[in-house]
Amino acid sequence: MLKIINGEVYDPLNGINGGIKEICIRDGKIVDEVPNTAKIIDASNLVVMPGGIDIHSHISGLKVNAGRGLRPEDHRRMVIPKTRITRSGTGYTIPSTFATGYLYTKLGYTTVMEAAVPPIGARHTHEELNDTPMIDKGCYIVLGNNEFILRYLQKGEYEKARDYTAWLLNATKGYAIKIVNPGGVENWKYGQDVSGLDDKVNHFDVTPRQILTALAQINQDLHLPHGVHIHCNNLGVPGNYRTTLETLHALEGKRVHLTHVQFHSYGGENWSGFASKAPEIAEYLNQHPHATIDVGQIIFGDTTTMTADGPWQYRLHKISEKKWYNSDVELESGCGIVPYVYKEKNFVNAIQWAIGLELFLLIKNPWQVFMSTDHPNGGPFIFYPYIIRLLMDKNFRDEMTKRVHKRVLKDTVLPHITREYSLYEIAIITRAGPAKALGLTHKGHLGVGADADIVLYPKLENKEEMFERPVYVLKEGEVILQEGQILKDWTGKTIFVELPENKAFQNEIRDDFEKYYTVEFSNYPTGLETFARYESVKVSI
């Protein structure tokens, strides 16, 4: 039993904005009151927030591991020695699993979602997540280019597509539906991409628009806790903001989450005309509260880009002339990995940096826009405190704006935005908002019944330092970090959805599995024995 007293509490889901409030914890949950014998943490001069939630990050699975293999030089840049409690680790842009857990904890993050898992890689992902300590985690299952889905949509068999999705999410222990460049990755198997929502997918008489609307409908019909999680077509291509807006239009009225929108808000017809269209995207979102986004802010410096979007990664490889990894995931998806350096003096990179900030600042409702760097695509997650400082400190932002390529001052509206985030709003974009969008009712707030994942930050003027150095991190009521030192090697839970399933449907796909997959049908699902600790979210239709 534990009681946190005198803390300045920011708990947006319960409307608490900096009030002094006692927080009582028993059995890993937040409760109304505890007896006087409870241990007390005095949080005077500290800021109390729920544990951070990262809605989109690449921390484990096939491509992350391939990225680690592709970049031995990345491991040399950051070496974390073993301590009495924690294990050793390496990696700057793609830390090894243990290091990932510790580094997130040191920022006060307690829940992280792995954003793209091809179904066949689910078991591997879960095994790796088991070895990612400290944090709770979950994963999104990539479905936008799945052979079965495409085939059912081609034949107009919507019910089968829905039953397949339900079966697949149960089998892979996923948390949400992820769509990556719908149709484009399938076309990449033939060396092509799609250029818009109405291009045809090779060998299937379907369009990206059909895939998007069908999966959004399935998401709705299955009552999944999270909206459909979309990486739009034409990532990184100048002028792609039209595709992004079209996607949003096509899915009006449905629960959608667009991810790393910074990479999808580009204007201009070619690279020399590259421009920010963040104001247009923000304008749309300000009028349409059905959609949420995460930003995918870029961080200047070295990073490793990795995505299921194979065709884009090929283009990036051609642009950057860096080494490239490409993979085709049988019947399901694809993958590409390219190391990349974002440079302050490169005007495209500088404008990308500005676009991310514009999205944060121009979208009025903080419940619609969440913190992410699309780790490690935009930059490593360890820079979140730096982004927070950019958002909260106009002077610091101006200083940075002057340092980067001069076209940012000239061509973007960023220098004219005076908005500064408050701590309350920061608590929304890093905790409460993602929790709400993910439908995690027991996370992201400090009300009675919530998981006691709590972070205590020092109250500092420099917000970067403040969010870099939590004084306490509590996981399910246990103090796992104090004054930057990890006190306990905590095993977090894996969160997945449990859907009611049409058992008869399995016979439908068994034959195709036996014929075309490299894995036996019965070996395909990930069993509960895989998990060190888990929590299933039961969904009833």
Binding site: L70, P72, E73, D74, R76, K322, K323
Partner: protein, 268 residues
Amino acid sequence: MILLKLKEKYDIPIEAEVISPDIFFDKTHTELCGLPLYYGNKEKKLGEVFEVEGEKSDQIYLEGDLSKIKKIGFGMSRGKISIKGNVGLHLGAFMKGGEIFVEGDVDSWVGAEMTGGFIRIKGNAGNRVGGIYRGTTVGMNRGTIIVEGNAGYEVGSFMRRGLIVILGNVGDFTGSYMIAGTIFVFGTLGARTGAGMRRGTIVTFNPVSLLPTFKYDTTYTPDFLRVYFHFLKKQGISIKEEYLKGPYRRYHGDISELGKGEILEFAA
């Protein structure tokens, strides 16, 4: 001056990146003896492995069979290390400045990814002299390495700037993926010399079998060679009179990459 004498020969490698003028120059004798070395995964003290004489100096002398001692002069930026005996892996890797002299053979990764300084080896060297560690795309960037004996595979691969001179023979993939810089080989070359090179110069005085992605340009005597030969003579290396006269066959490649690299082959 600091003298380190190896007490006994080890079979298990010892990681000794502390043996560097940057670390030694301000240490008293007691502090020197207390510096940590890694013997396998166990920590040992410098004083346990070596007899240490002298203190507070950036002139280091080492004696004994050091073939299991790794990372000597790792990342050093000043001073001088002189070694009598064979040396282990990673000698002078990531070196920024200063000098290393070895009377004996060295193992692989001599001066890997170095950015300055001077290394001279009287004996043979292992693989990847002035090379890279796996994954890096820009290797040796400034500095000079002279090996009087033979060297192994991948000499100067991914080299960006600097000079490597091998008086003996070398193995395969010399100057592979070179970005710039100069390599002299006085002995024979292995297969696939200059594979994937973008720019840079490889000079050889023996016939070399080239990849089909190298194209013959001309036979001439480049003036810049005189400058290099002058430098090498000053280093006490005798250059045959005919090498000064030339001529040399010039090939450019690797045309499957940028194709601005050159291989000069002594033609007389």
